[in-house]
Amino acid sequence: MKSALIVFPGSNRDSDMIKASTKISGNAPTLVWHKETTLPDVDVIIIPGGFSYGDYLRSGAIAARSPIMEAVKLAANKGTKVLGVCNGFQILTEAGLLPGVLMRNKSLKFVCKSVKLEVTNADSDFTSGYDEGQVINCPVAHHDGNFFADEKTLAEIESNNQVAFRYANDTNPNGSLNNIAGIFNKQKNVLGMMPHPENLIEKAHGGTDGRALFEALLGKQLGAKS
């Protein structure tokens, strides 16, 4: 699978994402600067974490209006897979590719720790490497991860099985409604999640629970070792 990774001023998890993608799939993503207006022909677009534009206005708000995002929207509407992690999730909601919004954490504190995630929907190109209901470890590191949507939107998200991951075992770190940690769009080709699976792919990370996501999404290279 070929992938592109969008880099914004203030992205800072791009290196982790490049390493994870390359290590698992054997192919390095093509880096695309946010001022570009076209994307290479790829199967997967990745928007990494960080603090694009210093979180000015609202987290992800300015990045979501960057020139490259029009190309991302076009590709997403044609079925290209899009993964946004942390700030990438915030950008995807601000761009209208995913419903809802990520608000300031309920505690008002930046949280950086490991949480438990329930794989709520394993029937997607992102989550098929997990079992439905499986609980995995995953680190979070964010200030604005408190998922909110109005009642009607939330009901739609639930009834369309758009919840990919939920915080499990009382580890909701931010006050997200319905313990939502990650959601798909209706077509399930766009996934946004606050936790960082790219930081749990080799034993030196303290676990490999994030690998299955990248293996499902990007394909596993032959002979890949954990």
């Binding site: 206005l57 609202r58 809802g100 919004v101 608000m103 309920k106 008002l108 408190n146 909110f148 006050g175």
Partner: protein, 80 residues
Amino acid sequence: MKAKVIVTLKNGVLDPQGKAIKGSLDALGFAGLNSVRQGKIFDINLDETDKEKANAKIKDMCEKLLANTVIENYTIQLIE
């Protein structure tokens, strides 16, 4: 023309920052506070001189960037 845009959280949307500010005001001894909600103000100076056109332009700005209408309301005040 100058304009002031005020962006506030919609009713029913949790405002943890407003809550923390209220807590601090309570601690400072300001009695009788029912609630505090935090918002944003944008002072905008633009070339447009026609009020209606200016209002329409700023409304577009609010919808496209200044407010996230999932959680926020906005009001526009035109000032000369």
